[in-house]
């Protein structure tokens, strides 16, 4: 396989709750234009386009074709990817496969979400429609008031079971979730492309937000964001000609397991906090990248954390620390931008969640750190290697991308 590098990134000028001034293709083209401006490339330089966003969230089923002119795909190969929360990184992986295989030299990955035009809850319900119909016919009370298999609280319901189990097995407390949310909202204040920014955020302030479903509070939960992200990938040969700086892809991996949500009809046998896919995919990615000890060799991590406990949980799953250690690193200040294990300097998904972009933004934010171009939210230590994590699907699908400042040898 050929070496592949990230040679350009484009974001919409803002990531906010409602972009009423543009429609979907117009918003997407803002990020596409930004990528061209940032790289000096033109549409003629792009061989193929990979497109990603959530299915059904905006009620638009073929956005990559509707927006064909805006993503400059006329007369070119184009493919849409939708894998839930991991969509952005799955699209990135598809772009990587294109270039690594030699099928294309330069690929543009385009992702977006415009939550304000749709309904995330309706979109999420679409994921479990078959199970829900069966449960209804078996007498389930979907309001969650009584009966076996009772569910309640929307997507926060399943997540709360995960957070609760994680706290029990790690020894962390709800105060550590509060502190993590606060840390990332403070980081977000330094990122011009973040949504919820609070330079004064503290654990105490987060702790004052209402409990939705213990141990998850309102302050632990991501917003719904409008925004688009573009990432341009190139082969080693083309990158040398086209870019001054490149963040090199050292490895990619992904893994799924059984659905760990309200999977009543087929029986759930997996602890929602066990998350084997994160363990398996990260170990595979380390092996492919030639990384022996991630604790020493990975300088920076971006975790997909729709909910604040997931930063701590996934740091343990991907082997950046031992089980039960993440909250101790947090207490010691090591997870801050100045720490030894800086994570989510961007503010994470808990601060900004235009879902289709969110897993790609983990990669682009790692790329900015590796290239030293993160500006005000550049971490203090030198970043030679960085890991981007994506989480989604029926809670059980994980994507991993490892970037480096030098191309992989051999």
């Amino acid at each position: 396989m050929r070496n592949v590098g990230i040679i350009g990134i484009g974001y919409t000028p803002v990531f906010v709750s409602k972009r009423k001034d543009v429609n979907i293709p117009e918003m997407i083209s803002e990020a596409v234009d930004a990528a061209f401006v940032n790289t000096g490339l033109t549409p003629a330089d792009i061989d193929a386009i990979v497109f990603g966003n959530m299915h059904t969230f905006e009620g638009v089923n073929l956005p990559h074709l509707w927006a064909a002119e805006h993503i400059r795909s006329l007369g070119k190969p184009v493919m849409r990817i939708a894998t839930g929360g991991t969509t952005g990184m799955a699209a990135f992986h598809a772009g990587y496969y294109n270039v690594a295989s030699g099928l294309a030299d330069v690929v543009m990955v385009v992702t977006y979400e415009k939550h304000s035009e749709g309904d995330a809850q309706v979109g999420l319900m679409g994921i479990i429609t078959p199970e829900l119909m069966t449960m209804l016919s078996a007498g389930i009370d979907v309001t969650g008031g009584s009966g076996m298999g009772a569910i309640g609280g929307g997507s926060a319901g399943g997540i709360s079971f995960q957070a609760s189990s994680y706290l029990y097995h790690s020894g962390a407390g709800i105060e550590h979730i509060d502190a993590q949310a606060a840390l990332e909202r403070r980081n977000a204040a330094k990122n011009p492309y973040a949504h919820l920014k609070d330079p004064e955020a503290t654990a105490e302030k987060i702790a004052q937000t209402p409990l939705v479903s213990w141990p998850i509070r309102f302050g632990h939960i991501c917003p719904t964001t409008d925004g688009a992200t573009v990432c341009i990938l190139a082969s080693e040969e083309r990158a040398a000609k086209l870019a001054d700086k490149t963040a090199w892809v050292l490895s990619v991996a992904n893994c799924a397991s059984d659905a760990t949500t309200a999977n009543l009809i087929e029986s759930q046998i997996t602890d929602p906090a066990e998350h084997r896919p994160a363990v398996i995919a990260s170990r595979q990615a380390y092996e492919r990248a030639g990384i022996v000890d991630p604790k020493k060799e990975i300088d920076y991590v971006e975790i997909y954390n729709g909910f604040a406990h997931q930063t701590l949980m996934y740091l343990e799953k991907i082997g950046m620390c031992e089980v039960g250690e993440a909250h101790k690193l947090q207490e010691a200040g090591e997870l801050e931008m100045s720490g030894r294990c800086p994570v989510n300097a961007s503010g994470g998904v808990v601060s900004t969640n235009a879902i289709g972009t969110s897993a790609l933004n983990r990669v682009t934010e790692c790329a900015l750190q590796v290239m030293g171009q993160a500006g005000e939210h550049q971490v203090e230590k030198d970043v030679h290697k960085a890991l981007a994590h994506g989480w989604g699907g029926m809670m059980q699908y994980v994507t991993i991308t490892i970037l480096g400042d030098k191309p992989k040898k051999g």
Binding site: T129, P130, M133, T134, M135, S137, A138, G139, I140, D141, V142, T143, G144, G145, S146, G147, M148, G149, A150, I151, G152, G153, G154, G157, S160, F161, Q162, S164, S165, Y168, P210, L211, V212, S213, W214, P215, I216, D258, A262, L264, I265, E266, S267, Q268, I269, D271, P272, A273
Partner: protein, 148 residues
């Protein structure tokens, strides 16, 4: 919201979404519940017991169809305390919702726990099923969990 949205009529036929699943595992469970019993499905190769039973063993990837009775006592594996209903309206009383591993069963099943203060609930706590007064072969027959 009304000034921003417009309604369009349409239908989806959802009736076909359930036929396969209803065939074996869930049907067996619901029929057993009419007699106050919990009948799962056991993998004849690895011995894993599922409630309700799926068509295939998740571990061995082979078709399974051996009935196995499961206890109505078990252990809390994880739990949450709900403060709002599915529409986001605050509940009058917080609702404890555990995920329970019943004795003799390998899969976990959700429900509601009554008869205990939210602050006293913990992982590893022993609970049992409180059956409904009239058993009809519905998931509502397992009314809620109570401490053992």
């Amino acid at each position: 919201m009304m000034e921003e949205t417009r309604e369009v009529q349409g239908t989806w036929d959802l009736s076909t979404l359930k036929f396969r699943i209803e065939g074996v595992g869930l049907r067996r469970m619901l029929d057993g519940m009419k007699e106050g019993k919990l009948i799962g499905t056991k993998c004849h190769k690895c011995g894993t017991v599922y409630l309700p039973g799926p068509f295939n063993c998740r571990k061995c990837h082979i078709a399974i169809n051996e009935p196995a009775e499961v206890s109505d006592h078990g252990e809390i594996m994880t739990f949450t305390i709900g403060y709002a209903d599915v529409r986001g309206n605050p509940l009058e009383e917080p609702r404890v919702a555990p995920v329970v591993k019943l004795d003799g069963c390998d899969s976990w099943i959700m429900g509601v726990l009554q008869g205990v203060k939210p602050e006293d609930v913990h992982v590893g706590m022993r609970v049992k099923v409180q059956w409904a007064e009239n058993l009809t072969g519905s998931l509502q027959d397992m009314a809620y969990y109570v401490p053992e």
